[in-house]
């Protein structure tokens, strides 16, 4: 195992732990994107550039957009429920 691979593995471990420890969903989505970037570096260091490309497009684009849209929708609904309750 080269130094680059070892460092990449350690970064993935740190970023993954960070994603688990962050409780707030929006920050968690951003941390997940960063985690995907560290995974991309790891795959690249392990000589799998095709997988690295797939990982970066899915983790930094595909997943966060859907998750953020879903989060926004949930908050909209929460707001509406509050208003309905206030209105009676």
């Amino acid at each position: 195992m080269s130094v680059v691979q070892a460092v990449a593995l350690l970064t993935v471990a740190c970023a993954g732990t960070a994603v688990v420890l962050i409780g707030e969903p929006l920050r968690q989505i951003l941390a997940l994107g960063v985690y995907g970037l560290t995974l991309t570096v790891l795959f690249f260091a392990l000589q799998a550039p095709d997988v690295a490309l797939s990982e970066i497009v899915v983790s930094s684009l595909g997943l966060p957009l859907i998750a953020i849209a879903a989060l926004r929708k949930i908050r909209q609904q929460e707001r509406r429920h509050e208003q309905d309750e206030r209105r009676g």
Binding site: P49, A52, L53, S54, V57, L61, I68, A69, R72, Q83
Partner: protein, 267 residues
């Protein structure tokens, strides 16, 4: 079960699990140790007999082209499922709200929102400028990844998602409706269907012209040239179109749900 009993059970099971894990890890092959024959065979066959230089793409579009067809239609079916589900729900929702408004008469005047207005306009000038630069760059990179699938790392899937990110950069600039104009739903549906159909048709072409479904039937060219590796570049373009359409369609359905402010829904 009381917490104490649970803790006791864990005290028994935990060390056992740890022991099994340690034994398992000790039996693992060393880091980077590779004994597979398959990879070596693919390396030899795909460059020599198919003139492809990126083995992963060659694997996807030649060795297991039929599996890729299944994955294509898996994506296709799941996107159609999402679209059908979300459009149905939205329709029901609109009807319900519409009736409520008719009932209380002035309900529609509660807020100034038009049905088509979007609530995402917080982009700074710097972000707008940057995303304007990003759009052509993303599209160029996506096209490059798709058409060079058989030559360099990348291919239809990766390039397709990068292409789909082009219109998303317009959204990041706070222009959701401009994004909708750039990539209208009907065009995305057509793109997705055309891509999926093209891949299947290439397979049928192999059946008709070479006698086996998905078999290469085009000239192989010189390894490393853009037009080489037989039908792989075409396969890659088919997959690229489908993935672009599929991702944009799913995103725009989700974003429709989240961003479009409906009458009385967000006042």
């Amino acid at each position: 079960m009381s917490p104490r009993a649970r803790l006791g059970l864990f005290a028994l099971a935990g060390p056992g699990l740890l022991a099994v894990l340690v034994i398992g890890f000790l039996g693992l092959p060393a880091f980077g140790d590779y004994h597979g024959v398959y990879g070596l065979v693919v390396d030899g066959v795909e460059l020599g007999e198919r003139h492809a230089t990126d083995m992963v793409t060659a694997l996807n579009f030649d060795v297991r082209a039929f599996d890729t067809l299944g994955e294509e239609y898996l994506l296709f079916a799941s996107v159609v499922g999402v679209v059908v589900l979300l459009r149905q729900l939205r329709g029901e929702h609109d009807d319900e709200r519409g009736e409520a408004e008719r009932e209380d008469g002035e309900g529609g005047e509660r807020d100034g929102h038009d049905g088509s207005e979007h609530a995402f306009a917080g982009a700074s000038d710097a972000l707008r400028g940057l995303s304007l630069v990003l759009v052509p760059m993303l599209i160029a990179l996506g096209v490059y990844l798709v058409i060079h699938g058989a030559l360099t790392p990348g291919g239809g899937f990766q390039g397709g998602v990068v292409l789909a990110a082009g219109p998303i950069a317009v959204l990041v600039a706070g222009r959701y409706l401009a994004m909708k104009r750039l990539a209208p739903d009907w065009a995305l549906e057509a793109l997705e269907a055309a891509g999926a159909g093209a891949y299947a048709l290439l397979g049928l072409g192999g059946l008709v012209l070479a006698g086996v479904f998905m078999k290469n039937f085009l000239p192989l060219g010189i390894p490393g040239h853009l037009l080489s590796a037989g039908s792989m570049p075409l396969n890659s373009i088919g997959v690229g179109l489908e993935v672009t359409g599929a991702f944009l369609l799913v995103w725009s359905e989700f974003l429709d749900q989240a961003l479009l402010v409906r009458r009385g829904a967000d006042g």
